[in-house]
Symmetry: C2
Subunit: 603 residues, 2 copies
């Protein structure tokens, strides 16, 4: 069959051979997730994605969402998909079974998400936002709030959102102006305007639960005075029954470059003074709650990037094998040389292997981060938990910021391989590129991710988190050096890791000095080189894994493992020298970006 989404063999390779995910089933928490179950789950996600979800992707993009009299119409096809997600229990794959979740390891849940989001990114956002909102209730809600919301949300009876951004408060969340006024019954009257609310209003389900960031009257300015509330579209009684409209009015939807099928709403809360919310967690601790959930949200955006990049690569690969155009370069001098599939042309092949290598590294990295949180969950050691969390924390900005930068590159290659047809909306590549572009912006722009890496993660625990990550890299390097064919790649990576250590020291020092502005002007290049090295590490790890696989494989898998080794060689040989150059540029410490006066910028 033609490739349209992630190749299953590589998904299995990462889960079973690189990560040995089924070893987790030795622990009670994940006891049922042995290899057989894992494979079954992936089969189901993949089938659902290919057969039911993918066919709704282009139609949803074309019809988009419409707003009439405050009611948002989302694409019709999506409603059926939502029912399939509910029936198959795909809304809360990794959530607590005690509240209706499936309790999967995160790494497995991510593999499912890659298929489902890759098949229709706009549609899958309704799922992700719903369990994201419910996660907040689970983490910070009272027993009563949990009883009221969790099962309905994890089962998909209701959906969820996140009301954070306001017109004057985007990246600067602390500037928000939505207010919460205490009522006599312990609830709060909410008043304010929120924008960019994905899935903010629709009639796909009976109710929508909005976690809302707002400031209780008299609370401090800035982020210190922000609290979190649950504000349902229709009020919910303590027995769970749905009551009257809660004065959450959709005042507009955005016309976006991509993710047309996901409505992006402006919501007016309490215009009539009838919007009631319940405090979620402690007063003025809203930002802490947000931060706790942010890792997962950002990782999800990384998976979105992977999912569309993977789909774009799969399409490009199929197209390149089928599209016949021009002779093979080696036969150019022949008389009337036959036209060949374009996969034989070197420039197409360069793009395909670049796409392949990036997609594979993204997949390995993201599933690895998920796996770290699974390991953390089953670990008995506090030290180990802390070590794992440190690695996760450092890798989050890479998994979101660097991964989505690369996803967008991959989607652009995916368009280019199609030539003129890539630009035509009847073919799938344009939509994937348009959809992908938002991943670089939301959940903190990639510039914010870079600042997070430099400003928070680099110095975390006095640098121990970064050191722990580098120690993991060194383990892979040591292992690869034992294999003759991989030793040169291991050397290249070791040199790059060494250089990255030097750059990290320099960046950390500069960020603490009067040169802090220059340091932050280099935050994004620093994230880029860190990501390059992390991807190279993933490739070396994959190559080591493939070498072991090759030793015991049947004929059928030889090609696959050969492809893993080729990706690793290509990535390490062609990307690491560029990263080395970029690291040298960072160390040169150019200050032109900051010293240029504002008045000297011309158009």
């Amino acid at each position: 069959m033609a490739h349209q989404l992630a190749d299953r063999r590589d998904v299995e390779f990462v889960l079973h051979e690189q990560l040995n995910l089924s070893d987790l089933s030795n622990h009670e928490t994940y006891g049922e997730f042995n290899k057989k179950t894992i494979d079954l789950v992936i089969s189901e996600a993949r089938n659902l994605a290919l057969k039911e979800v993918l066919p709704t992707n282009a139609p949803g993009d074309q019809s988009g969402c419409t707003l009439e009299n405050g009611h948002v119409q989302i694409p019709d096809e999506f409603k059926r998909v939502w029912e399939l997600y509910r029936d198959g229990e795909w809304i809360a794959t990794s959530e607590d079974p005690g509240w209706g979740g499936q309790g999967m390891p995160h790494a497995l849940s991510m593999a499912c998400t890659e298929y489902l989001s890759g098949a229709n990114m706009a549609m899958y956002m309704y799922v992700a936002l719903t369990h994201g909102a419910a996660n907040l209730v689970e983490a910070f809600g009272s027993q009563g709030q949990k009883e009221k919301y969790l099962r309905k949300m994890y089962s998909g009876e209701w959906t969820g959102t996140m009301l954070l951004t306001e017109p004057g408060a985007g990246s600067d969340v602390g500037a928000l102006t939505t207010t919460a006024t205490p009522n006599a019954d312990g609830t709060y009257s909410i008043k304010g305007n929120k924008i960019f609310i994905s899935g903010g209003e629709h009639d796909m389900v009976e109710n929508i639960v909005h976690p809302v960031l707002a400031r209780i009257e008299g609370a401090p300015e800035g982020t210190k005075g922000i609290s979190l509330f649950t504000v349902p579209k229709y009020r919910v009684a303590d027995d769970g029954s749905v009551g009257e409209f809660n004065d959450v009015v959709c005042t507009g939807i955005e016309h976006k470059m991509g993710i047309h099928g996901n409505c992006t709403c402006s919501l007016a809360l309490g215009e009539k003074g009838e919007c009631v919310g319940e405090l979620l967690g402690e007063p003025n601790k809203g930002m802490r709650a947000m931060f706790q959930m942010m890792n997962e949200a950002r990782l999800f955006v990384g998976i979105q990037g992977l999912s569309v990049a993977g789909a774009s690569y799969a399409n490009a690969l199929t197209y390149a094998k089928e599209r016949v155009q021009g002779p093979n370069l080696m036969t150019m001098m022949d008389k009337n040389p036959p036209a060949v599939p374009i996969i034989q042309h070197p420039d197409i092949r360069r793009q395909l292997i670049a796409m392949k290598a990036n997609v594979e590294a993204m997949r390995s990295l993201l599933f690895y981060i998920g796996y770290c949180s699974d390991l953390k969950k089953v670990s008995d050691s506090e030290d180990e938990k802390e070590r794992l969390q440190g690695i996760i924390d450092v890798l989050i900005p890479i998994g979101k910021g660097y991964v989505t930068d690369r996803s967008y590159d991959v989607c652009s290659h995916g368009m280019q391989v199609y030539g003129g047809y890539g630009f035509i909306e009847e073919y799938p590549q344009a939509q994937l590129l348009r959809d992908c572009r938002i991943t670089m912006i939301y959940e903190g722009t990639n510039g914010i991710q870079a600042m997070d890496l430099l400003g928070r993660k680099l110095g975390m625990k006095k640098g121990k988190a970064v050191m722990d990550l580098m120690a993991e890299m060194q383990k892979t390097i040591a292992g690869a050096r034992e294999v003759a064919a991989l030793a040169p790649l291991a050397d290249e990576l070791e040199k790059a890791v060494g250089k990255l250590g030097e750059v990290a020291m320099y960046m950390g020092k500069t960020a603490m000095s009067t040169e802090v502005m220059n340091a932050f002007a280099n935050a994004h290049p620093f994230m880029t080189v860190t990501g390059d090295v992390v991807f190279a590490w993933m490739h070396l790890w994959r190559a080591l894994t493939a070498t072991a696989g090759l030793e015991k494989t049947k004929k059928r898998d030889k090609d696959f493992y050969g492809g893993v080794l080729a990706s690793a060689a290509h990535y390490i040989q062609t990307e690491l020298p560029v990263a080395q150059g970029r690291m040298r540029a960072i160390l040169k410490g150019s200050d032109a970006a900051m010293t240029i006066p504002e008045t000297a910028f011309f158009g």
Copy 2:
């Protein structure tokens, strides 16, 4: 006023200070284009662009084109703009005044195009295609054909197109199947299907002239049997009167990611056997004619890239100065620090200076290429003409392929600076990004440009063309070394030029060896590093020019020149080390892209 298009000061800097364009007025050909006239022309183009054309850009994108019963409706607003282009004589700015052109130097014409295309890229394509088609008639037509078509096309009474691509013959032009059967009266009956025809059908003007590539019955296969014909939409009598419909039927229009306002048509020629064409030039020499015109077409695409990148930068700069969000990093520790315009944030500034430096280098390079052809036109020396043509030929794939790769990067930064608003279609950045993307694809994908650089241009005249270009770079380096402040930048560029020479030798040798496939798999990286070095050269040249300007400037220009120097420093310090890394990667000669078996590509 807020920036919306290219800053005039920089356009003047390139034309008057870097290139000294008005010196051309010492030659009869360009006698009237003294500084005053040049400035007047730019003023008019800029005013027209800002006041009349720019307001049609978003509406044209939204309404797009529609097809009904073979008739294409283009955006209504465009018809008025077309009349303004006609009235102002903007259709044939650099063409022969003897046939109704304005006879401007190309460099000046490009400056106008930057404004007009930047204001509405889709609309300006109707202009560019028209004089492009007419250029073919002027270059290859008989006196009778010129009389029949040229004045009507250069005046915009009729428009023109180019019918090249067919469903099975895109990059591989030689595979085309459209036939031309000789008629008794010397005309040909044309039959075939063409796709991706920009401006192929509309009712903006009385007639459309289609230059068509087709194969005369019995002609050789491949590119050697291709001839060029003029096929008007309505037949034209020898006296220029427009007659009956010529059986050129629009069978479909494409729904594209961008340039919505320019109709992209599928045309069926001679379905009823009633399509008549006239041979243009000699039989079987159609490809030669195409190649002769290709340089100009490719340069135009480069200008398109510059024009939208420049607009995206101008918008981003204005937005960054106006948008207030978050405190300055230096005041973060203060109590309640005030929010500041985002241009104060280091990550925004990094993006702005990267955009600025790329746009400036593009502008300098493209105008320089235009200027070389102007110099060639007025030169008396055959050697000098040949030297200039060699430099032009080498720079064309950079001016198209590398420039549009960078244009797309700039437009992506331009979206990122807007944050969430960048993704919303009510703001200008999304359309600029979508429009820009096609420039990497048409007139030969950027992969084809890279193959052109490696396969044709590198070895041209036994490498003399490349050597001549490098000699120009050395002149700038020698000049810059005399200025203490620029000497370190000159050193960096000299090292990079030296390394590029090494890479070029390696690539040339590899392309002639059995490793030819590997060489071509590296064609695009080779184009990238060549472009990096060329841009750095432009920046050094600009810096040298600005240094001279600073010595005699008034206060007002100090900022501008300071900005030029900052761009140069930023580009050379941060991009050249990366280019050095990429050159090292090329020299490593990784062959993974070619040695990986087709069956080892997985999704």
